[in-house]
């Protein structure tokens, strides 16, 4: 092929590229937004939480080493195990896989950065600040103590009146929002910033895994975010969603929680599997066997994982028929796991004899530990076996085999494998072998005996146990194993301290890998964006590293003098436009600090201060947004190969349109969870609405629905006016549309008010009220967005060509109208029709 750009390159091209991407120096590095810096901060912070969560686990094992131990009292122990689970799941496992993706994916996809660097930085800082504050609660003995699963009624205000549970609900609820922000960025990044020629069928398996995982985050996190909102509303205002005597149901929480909680396991596992699918071919020096089948398995797993949640509730007294279905689905998920395991083993067969490098050792450890976890997973999928082992140490053993084997071992393999992209050289092979050996021995010694202690009748979450039940030996062995694990982790940290140096500029491919993250890299990623023609570009085109570094491929410099990335089409990766990315800045950090402070102040019930930080955060967000949507600052630019692309597009080609669509999917999943809660409580209620509650008259919802339709129509009119340049008409229609929307909300509220809606009396009133609350939140957001569009229009920043701001507002507006009409139908028409 002829290369897109000729030699020699203009003399100052590289210097200008380096300048615009240069990271801030000294302490200002905290204002960096580039994925390389944010990714490393992110990984470091997640590792810090791994250490905190691990230290708590050491306390657990110290307490349980002998029967009747009094090292920790029950209060402390319950906080310790709750925080261990919560930190490991919410602050370590999910964040670290997103962190690895933020760090690795742009390089692997040959792009300069993810498409929303400020959003990425905001998501990271919100998580870091919120997570650290959350962890501090245990220092004051006010940490959550109701288990990481937070089942009501134990966590309700009646049985947990103190602030501990609120830390969980507000702290974790808000950190999940940051996970969603990360997912938005990953979906758009993977679909829209791949290098030219990297069709979906040529995409690295890790990118496939992260695409599926980000999709799963979008649908799995909203139910639990809604659940935390409901439980917090119940605790704060007495809306009885989970109180059985008042038309609520404690099992509603379990459904919402596990509808998140089970996919969450695969959200953690699939990225690790994607890493294994990347590392194994390199180790074997042969392409992955069965690429298509592996991608199919990842997609299947992602879909299946949403059909398994009730297997966490096999002892709750569900009907045997529905349990049988969930049991079968739980077994079936072993099939896509099997596909991947056999594809990896087949790759090792096809490849050369394995050299026992540190990544190879960890991969072998992964196979051993994960296979055991998978097999015990099939065992607990069988109903009768689960009835015995559910909530016992057998399940503790199973889940740690799956998570440590399926996620931590691949993660350590990944650390050792990709460390050279950070520091230009590998970590110590000698220390690495020790780390792997200690972790392997530690995991098996800690968790294998737990299978036995569980079958011998030891339940989970007990702060102590009596002697004489044959639990002494397994527990002592587990505690000794935990010590080995701790030594292994300390040695790993030592290896990092001794051998990891962040260098910025790296040019190395020590394992002879085939993927693009082994191109010569600087802060801007690769010098030029490569043209891709196969799945293994570095193997199939050995000259590629040199060509890319020489600037022979696309976009070898900066065409606008700003940070840029090349946006390509989602399926076949054809160049579409050059997006201008924001430079480093403090706004994301400040906005994140404000958001975290807002939620924490709410938790400790300092409402005025919370309102002030909320206003500050909003100001930061507006300031941030104001700098976006720059419009076509230059005419279309030449990226090489005779291709000219614009630097600004609108409509469905715009990457921000895609982000808005993803956000709408999140909103839709939230609304669906809310309607699920409403219908769920309906199915267990003898009468709906309950006695002493009634539906508003027909007229109210009909009028509200009509007003929503009208407001949507007015926005459409505003859009037409904007396109024709009729500025005054545009402003008029937009403002009128806003008023119509407010009228719709007011009619909805007035109808319920007139019908005497009582949120505190019954689950019916509570769910209806929370639907109104969410609807109100949408209206408030849209009012702010409309005002923002008007302000931009007045400042001359919004016109027929420069209109992404308004287009996104319109998209959300139409969605809100559809959501409102569906809600009105569910809350007003269905009870009449079915009742």
């Amino acid at each position: 092929m002829t290369l897109p750009n000729p030699l020699p390159r203009p003399p100052d091209e590289l210097r200008r590229l380096e300048e615009v991407w240069a990271p801030p120096r000294g302490w200002r590095i905290l204002s960096a937004v580039n994925n390389t810096q944010v990714g490393l901060f992110y990984i470091g912070t997640a590792l810090l939480f791994f250490l905190i969560g691990g230290s708590l686990a050491m306390l657990v094992r110290a307490q349980l080493a002998v029967p009747g131990n009094t090292l920790l009292g029950p209060d402390t122990y319950n906080q310790v195990f709750t925080m261990h689970g919560t930190i490991m799941m919410f602050l370590f496992a999910v964040p670290i896989v997103e962190a690895m993706a933020v760090y690795l994916l742009p390089a692997m996809l040959g792009t300069r950065d993810l498409p929303f660097p400020w959003l990425g930085a905001y998501a990271f800082w919100a998580y870091a600040i919120g997570g650290l504050a959350f962890c501090c609660s245990i220092l004051f003995a006010v940490a959550p103590d109701g288990g990481w699963f937070m089942y009501p009624p134990l966590t309700s205000s009646r049985f947990s009146p103190t602030i501990n549970a609120d830390f969980w609900l507000l702290g974790i609820g808000f950190i999940e929002i940051s996970a969603i922000a990360g997912a938005v960025e990953l979906v758009v990044g993977i679909l829209r910033t791949r290098p030219p020629g990297m069709t979906l069928g040529r995409m690295p398996v890790f990118a496939w895994a992260m695409l599926v995982v980000a999709g799963m985050v979008i649908f799995a996190f909203p139910p639990v975010i809604l659940g935390t909102l409901l439980l917090e509303l119940e605790r704060a205002f007495g809306w009885p969603f989970f109180i059985a005597e008042q038309g609520g149901d404690p099992l509603l929480w379990q459904h919402l929680f596990w509808f998140f909680g089970h996919p969450d396991v695969y959200i953690i596992f699939l990225p690790a599997a994607g890493m294994v699918s990347t590392i194994v071919p390199t180790l074997a020096q042969t392409p992955l066997v069965g690429y298509r089948l592996v991608v199919g398995a990842i997609l299947t797993m992602g879909a299946f994982s949403f059909a398994l949640w009730a297997h966490h509730m096999f002892a709750a007294g569900l009907s045997i028929h529905s349990m049988s279905l969930f049991s079968a689905a739980s077994m079936a998920v072993a099939i896509p796991s099997g596909v991947q395991v056999f594809a990896w083993i087949a790759t090792l067969w096809r490849g050369r004899r394995l050299r026992l490098t540190t990544p190879a050792l960890f991969v072998l450890g992964f196979f051993f530990v994960f296979t055991i976890g998978g097999l015990t997973g099939v065992m607990v999928a069988l109903l009768p076996f689960d009835w015995q082992t559910h909530d016992t140490y057998f399940v503790v053993a199973h889940l740690h085999y799956v998570l440590l084997g399926g996620m931590v071992f691949p993660l350590f393999a990944a650390f050792y494998y990709w460390a050279p992209t950070v520091s230009g050289r590998t970590l110590s092979p000698r220390l690495g072998a020790w780390v792997c050996g200690l972790l392997f021995a530690g995991v098996n010694l800690t968790f294998f005996p737990m299978h036995l202690s569980g079958l011998l009748g030891m339940p989970r979450r007990v702060y102590t146990y009596p002697p004489g039940l044959h639990w002494e030996w397994p527990n002592l062995l587990s505690s000794l194993g935990a010590g080995l694990l701790a030594i292994g982790v300390v040695l790993f940290l030592l290896d990092l301290v001794l051998h990891l140096r962040v260098t910025g500029k790296v040019d190395t491919n020590p394992w002879n890998a085939s993927t693009l993250e082994w191109l010569p890299l600087d802060n801007y990623g690769a010098r030029s964006i490569p043209q891709i023609e196969s799945r293994e570009p570095l193997w199939d085109r050995p000259a590629l590293r040199e060509e890319v570094a020489g600037g022979r491929h696309y976009l070898p410099g900066t065409v606008t003098g700003e940070r840029e990335a090349l946006v390509t089409s989602p399926f076949d990766a054809r160049p579409q436009y050059v997006v201008i990315l924001p430079r480093d800045g403090w706004t994301p950090l400040l906005a994140a600090a404000g958001t975290a402070a807002f939620f924490l102040l709410l938790t400790v019930k300092l409402v005025t201060l919370a309102a002030m930080t909320g206003a500050f955060t909003l100001a930061m967000l507006v300031r941030w947004l104001w700098t976006t949507d720059r419009g076509p600052v230059t005419p279309p630019v030449d990226i090489g190969g005779g291709i000219r692309v614009p630097v600004y597009v609108t409509g469905s080609r715009s990457h921000s349109w895609w982000a808005m669509v993803v956000l709408i999917l999140v909103a839709g999943a939230t609304w669906a969870s809310l309607l699920f809660s409403y219908f769920y409580l309906w199915t267990i209620a003898p009468e709906w609405p309950p006695p002493a509650q009634r539906l508003p008259g027909w007229g109210w919802p009909a009028a509200a629905g009509t007003a929503w339709a009208v407001s949507s129509g007015l926005i459409l009119g505003a859009s037409r006016a904007l396109a024709t340049g009729a500025t005054t008409r545009f402003r008029g229609w937009l403002a009128t549309g806003g008023l119509a929307m407010l009228a719709a909300l007011a009619l909805d509220l007035a109808g319920q008010w007139q019908a005497g809606l009582a949120p505190t009396r019954h689950g019916y009133g509570a769910t209806v009220a929370v639907a109104l609350l969410v609807q109100g939140l949408f209206v408030a957001t849209l009012v702010i967005m409309a005002a923002y569009s008007l302000a931009r229009s007045w400042r001359g920043l919004l016109n027929a060509t420069r209109r992404v701001t308004f287009d996104n507002t319109m998209l959300l507006w139409h969605y809100a109208a559809v959501q409102a009409v569906i809600g009105l139908a569910a809350l007003h028409a269905l009870p009449r029709w079915l009742g």
């Binding site: 029950p74 067969w349 096809r350 065992m379 702060y463």
Partner: protein, 308 residues
């Protein structure tokens, strides 16, 4: 293998699950060894040709589908059999999980009484399927006696059912399996399986009101029990103590343990529990009567121990 072990079954349900566990463990071990052998050979051998269909479709799809289908048949058959309700005339016992003990009610038509209330100890006739009704007035608990059957949760607003049967006489230990708060760890119970005649005798004794005190010390204990307000929480049938918050103590002296199988039951343990319950089971709902003098405590303990 222990009195609280799924590996030491004492009845048909636990036996069937133990058999299933054996099949699963052996099968898993075989598959594990097979996979590890394939892995070791692949890692250690030089390059060789592989057939994608054979490996990935054969090993990853056909093989698990075959194994899992067989397991599914086993799973369905056994789980439906274990969920079959007991015969209509099966004795029914209601067990209510409370923070952090168990109330046990026998629907016994004995001695003109409808219901016999006891706590933390379930008595069963050997060889009979018993219908358990599992409820809770506070948080979620889970009823689990591993040697007899799998566990079933006690969920507010629901009446869950579990059939248990002990085929050999003896004492089985059970423990709450759903985290239920600060003393979840010390919410255990005993199941006493006895031959039917012995069980009937026990139930008849249990249905009777408490024996009146027969010695001056016992009388002192009885009076102190009432004077210090113990009857606000506890019932002793045949006296004016009618409290419903704590365990029924009508025959507490006959029970093998105290505080939901936390400590063995004897008169000194009873005295220790009364004066320092918070030390023995921190956070439990009974207040410690540390202010009572030793003599009074000893008298109350002696009286309670006499309630056989």
């Amino acid at each position: 293998m222990g009195m609280q072990s799924a590996l030491a079954p004492g009845g048909p349900a636990a036996q069937a699950i133990a058999n299933l566990a054996t099949v699963l463990a052996v099968g898993a071990a075989v598959i594990f060894v097979l996979v590890m052998a394939l892995l070791a050979y692949g890692a250690l051998s030089g390059p060789r040709r592989v057939h994608t269909g054979l490996w990935v479709v054969g090993g990853g799809i056909v093989f698990p589908v075959a194994v899992l289908s067989a397991l599914l048949v086993y799973d369905r058959g056994l789980s439906h059999a274990l969920s079959t309700p007991p015969p209509r005339d099966a004795p029914r016992i209601e067990v209510e999980g409370r923070q952090w003990w168990w109330e046990v009610r026998y629907a016994a038509g004995v001695a003109g009484r409808d219901v016999v209330v006891a706590a933390n100890e379930i008595h069963l006739p050997v060889g009979t399927a018993v219908d358990l009704v599992l409820t809770t007035p506070d948080v979620i608990h889970s009823f689990w006696v591993p040697s007899l059957a799998g566990k079933v949760d006690m969920v507010p607003g629901r009446r869950n059912r579990l059939t248990i049967q002990a085929d050999r006489a003896g004492i089985y230990r059970g423990q709450c399996a759903e985290f239920c708060g600060v003393q979840h760890a010390r919410m255990a119970l005993l199941v006493v399986a006895a031959p039917p005649a012995e069980f009937e005798g026990w139930l008849a004794r249990e249905a009777a009101p408490a024996a009146p005190p027969t010695t001056p010390e016992l009388t002192q204990g009885h009076d102190a029990f009432l004077a210090h307000g113990c009857g606000g929480c506890h019932t002793i049938r045949g006296t004016t103590a009618l409290g419903l918050l704590g365990p029924d103590l009508t025959h507490v002296g006959s029970r093998r343990t105290l505080a939901a199988a936390t400590i063995p039951n004897h008169v000194e343990a009873m005295a220790a529990w009364i004066s320092a319950s918070d030390r023995l089971k921190p956070g439990n709902r009974m207040r410690s009567f540390a202010h009572l003098d030793q003599g009074t405590v000893a008298a109350i303990a002696a009286y309670l121990a006499s309630l056989q």
